[in-house]
Amino acid sequence: MSKKLFVTCFLLACALGSIPLVKAFAQGTTLSDQQITLIKDNCVSSRNTLNQLHVSDALLRVNMGQVYESMSTKLMDKFNSRISYNSLSNSDLAAVSKDYVSTLDEFRLDYIAYEAQLSLALKIDCEKKPADFYDAISVAYKGRNLVHDDVLKLNQYIDKYQLALDKFEKDYQAIAEGSKK
């Protein structure tokens, strides 16, 4: 019984002892003195650049978000509804619209994560905590790239919808000609 207790306590102690080690590895980047000096020297200018980017990206999110939303709600959904209203098949168009909407949701979520990370980076005092500042920018950089990837995907779906529309038109023309004959 005492042996079991001893082993349990030992394992618990090992597990608890490894937490600081895991944290240390998780913090990632180790910066040299030269690198830290570089961050401290450019602290003010880099913060200013980040602030400007934060503001301009917010405007971009608002304006482009509206446009992406309108592509779906004012055009794709409306045309799909009109096709359904006329009892015609629109499976391709509906599938592309659905993918577009789910990508738009991803875009929203990825932007929230990116904005939160950039805000976090801006709150860090780069003169006192240069390594944390560096890590925060690194994560924000990846977050912004994800948002850009979503934008590229949205553009691809816009093109796919156009192709599906061309196909729908051809099918419609074939049906119309067939009914004439």
Binding site: T30, L31, S32, Q35, L38, I39, N42, S45, S46, T49, L50, N51, L53, H54, V55, S56, A58, L59, L60, R61, V62, N63, M64, G65, Q66, V67, Y68, S70, M71, K74, L75, D77, K78, F79, S81, R82, Y85, L88, R108, L109, Y111, I112, E115, Y134, I137, A140, Y141, R144, H148, V151, N155, I158, D159, Y161, Q162, L165, F168, E169, Y172, A176
Partner: protein, 123 residues
């Protein structure tokens, strides 16, 4: 008369009876704090905060936000589908698609360490 006396006696015995008003005020403040915390959490997590350009720090760009998207024509969801309707939609869609794709949103590399003057190499 005896009932009134009994009620008075119960009130005298209750530990909260003397501080009822204070408890009411404190509880109201606590509830309002909780509700404000919940609404702030929702405001931040829902993405509304990111779209809110009325926040401090966004004064300079507030006027540039598009508030009127009337040039983005709303296609009618009812009506007949014929060649004319399809062609009309294709023209409308193509016009808006070109406009949308023209902006390389969130492109470029402004967060690059070199752009920020923090060109570093990890050890």
């Amino acid at each position: 008369m005896s009932e009134v006396k009994m009620v008075l006696k119960i009130e005298e015995l209750s530990p909260y009876s003397k501080h009822r008003f204070l408890i009411l005020i404190t509880a109201s403040i606590l509830i309002s704090f909780v509700l404000v915390a919940i609404s702030m959490a929702l405001y931040n997590s829902s993405g509304a905060a990111q779209l809110d350009l009325s926040r401090p720090g966004y004064v300079s760009i507030r006027s540039q936000a598009v508030t009127n998207d009337n040039d983005f024509e709303n296609y009618a969801s009812t009506g007949a589908i014929n060649q004319k309707a399809i062609s009309e939609f294709k023209i409308l869609y193509s016009k808006q698609a070109t406009k949308t794709k023209a902006v390389d949103a969130f492109g470029g590399d402004p967060l690059n360490f070199a752009s920020l003057g923090l060109e570093l190499t990890t050890e």
